[in-house]
């Protein structure tokens, strides 16, 4: 498998002077296209910071970050925003849906914001994704009225909307009961298998991590295993 993204000697420091905290200490990592990897490590190990940098929401203090052969450290905010929209999907622990919008409107958001309007094709893809997530009956429901598990499945559908090469999931099941968590993970595994989308899933749950083909352990700002 070819490399989808590569980070080398990644350093991230927060604060200045004596108050400076070095969260990443020269971390290096390569993800191949089509991988489904779990990111493990204790709280404060730097997992979330790493995901944030890989998601282009934050730049490293130093080091290189290349994805799809693009140098993302050198890119400006506008270029990163466009790159993020086209190539990266996010699933957060608390789903983070737009509460005043329906399930379908949330799912089509990444495409609509790129195209400037909700196209017929985008709505059709949104419906297809929601149906695949088992939410065919909830397409036009206000997202605020959905259950926790349903909201997280909408969030997964939204992350897949633009057919990204990489989906970053930060504790996607951390806020769900065991049954809902397994449903979400089954969906992720199915999409990874069928569409070749690369997933990097941050989790504390060994069972969830066991569903992934690769486990990456982060400790003290470095990949330790």
């Amino acid at each position: 498998m070819s490399a989808l993204l590569q980070v080398e000697d990644l350093v991230k420091t927060f604060g200045h002077g004596e108050a400076a905290t070095r969260v990443l200490r020269g971390l290096s990592l390569t993800l191949a296209a089509g991988e489904m990897a779990a990111l493990l490590g204790p709280s404060g190990s730097g997992k979330s910071t790493l995901l944030t940098i890989l998601g282009t929401l934050m730049k490293p203090t130093s080091g290189s970050h290349v994805m799809l052969e693009q140098d993302l450290v050198a890119a400006d905010d506008r270029a990163l925003t466009t790159f993020r929209n086209r190539h990266i999907g996010f699933v957060f622990q608390f789903h983070n849906l737009l509460p005043d919008f329906t399930a379908l409107e949330n799912v089509v958001f990444p495409t609509a914001v790129r195209e400037g309007r909700e196209t017929h094709a985008a709505r059709a893809r949104g419906r297809e994704l929601l149906t695949r997530m088992g939410l065919g009956e909830r397409i036009d429901f206000p997202s605020a009225n959905l259950s926790g598990g349903q909201k997280q499945r909408v969030a997964v559908a939204r992350a897949l909307m633009n057919r990204p090469e990489l989906v970053l999931a930060d504790e996607p099941t951390g806020n769900l009961d065991r049954e809902s968590a397994m449903q979400v993970m089954d969906l992720i595994a199915e999409i990874n298998r069928d569409e070749g989308t690369t997933f990097l899933i941050s989790t504390h749950d060994e069972k969830i991590a066991g569903l992934c083909r690769r486990q990456i352990v982060v400790g003290d700002g470095l990949v330790t295993g």
Partner: protein, 401 residues
């Protein structure tokens, strides 16, 4: 940007009570703006109509000729004829000018007149008066004599005289009585009192009399021409331009009413300035209201803004969402305020029916379009600061909230 409009609209409709209150606040500001415009404009209209509504807006007065000199053969001045008190100069070709003046755009009425001073005698009582001879049928062209008549008729004919209530009371005159009018030149005429008017202006009611033009010709020994042409305009604010045009057409010295009315114009300007201040304060209130409400909205929606940014929404998109909200609030508030203002002004009498004791509100001077336009612009400007704040939201921090 159609999608940004959808999101802006959704945000506004999602918090109906908050949006409703905000729109109401803007509408009240616009209402005040419109109310003040109608009041200041109506007041100016009222003052003008009361002060210059019954006077000539453009006046052409005959120039007195220079005094005649008798000069000897060797160039010495032998005699000078002093300028007399009585007006002798005439606009000899008045009959020629009048159709020309009437054809000038904006001219509503033209009244050729012979004016002069005289003495009105009734028995042993004598009063000094200003005499105006006007053409029959043009009695109300300038001063609305017919409208001010309290007894008799304003229609003038041979041997008839019309005068004011104060003068009639001073001389104890009643309709139908005869009285003697002697001009400053010494010519007398016996006239019958055919009407008494009451304009409310002490000068006119106490010392002005009106006679027919032929009677004035006899009294002032002017067999032809007139001494003065008074012109009334459809819009008295165009007096300066119209006077210039009449001068260009006729070569006569047409003088607008604004000459010599500097104090009145200053007072009206001061009043207009006051209005501008009040309207500016209303707009500032709108801007502050919209800005503070949108800043609160920005703060409340920080996590959502963070999500949008994470999903690939650019800073420009976020700015557009919030500026569009400002514009929509301004538009809705502007339209509502304008409608409220118009409805509130409807019960007031029209500008032609202003009465003493009532607020002279002029519904036509509400500046509705200007109020809506300025409100939308103000609301857009007010939303720029919150929009920029929203665009600067750090998605990482916001999502973590």
């Amino acid at each position: 940007m159609l999608y940004a409009l959808k999101i802006a609209t959704r945000y506004l409709t999602a918090s109906k009570a908050q949006t409703g209150l905000l729109v109401l606040g803007v509408a009240v500001g616009v209402f005040i703006f419109i109310f003040m415009s109608a009041l200041i404009g109506g007041l100016a209209e009222f003052i003008l109509s009361r002060t210059v509504g019954d006077i000539s807006h453009v006046t052409i007065t005959a120039e007195d000729p220079d005094p005649t000199l008798l000069i000897s053969a060797d160039g010495h001045v032998l005699a000078v004829t002093e300028r007399g008190r009585a007006r002798t100069a005439t606009l000899a070709e008045a009959a020629t000018y009048i159709p020309l003046i009437e054809a000038v755009p904006g001219v509503a009425a033209v009244s050729p007149q012979i004016t002069g001073a005289g003495f009105l005698t009734r028995g042993a009582q004598v009063a000094q008066v200003g005499v105006t001879g006007v053409e029959s049928g043009r009695e109300s062209a300038i001063l609305d004599l017919d409208g001010y008549m309290v007894e008799g008729t304003g229609r003038l004919g041979s041997g008839l005289i019309v005068l004011g209530r104060t003068l009639a009371d001073d001389l104890s005159l009643r309709l139908g009585q005869t009285l003697r009018l002697q001009s400053s030149g010494g010519v007398s005429a016996v006239l019958t009192l055919s009407g008494i008017f009451d304009t409310g202006n002490g000068m006119i009611d106490g010392s002005s009399v009106f006679v027919a033009l032929p009677t004035a010709r006899t009294l002032f020994a002017l067999p032809q021409g007139v001494t003065r042409i008074e012109i009334k305009l459809a819009d008295l604010n165009t007096a300066d331009a119209t006077a210039l045009r009449i001068r260009a057409f006729t070569g006569l010295d047409a003088v607008p009413w604004t000459d010599g009315a500097a104090q009145l114009m200053e007072a009206l300007n001061a009043q207009a300035q006051t209005g501008y201040f009040l309207k500016t304060f209303a707009l500032i209130t709108i801007v502050i209201g919209v800005a503070s409400a949108l800043l609160l909205s920005t703060y409340r929606r920080r996590p959502e803004i963070g999500i949008m940014r994470a999903m690939g929404a650019g800073r420009g998109f976020v700015i557009f969402v919030f500026v569009t909200q400002g514009a929509l609030i301004g538009l809705m508030g502007g339209l509502s305020g304008a409608a409220l203002g118009y409805l509130a002004l409807l019960p007031f009498p029209s500008r032609d029916a202003f009465k003493v004791g009532t607020l002279p509100m002029d519904i036509t001077q509400g500046s509705y379009g200007l109020a809506i336009t300025l409100t939308v612009i103000g609301a857009i400007l007010a939303s720029i600061l919150p929009a920029r704040a929203a665009a600067r939201v750090d998605p990482v921090t916001a999502i973590g909230q």
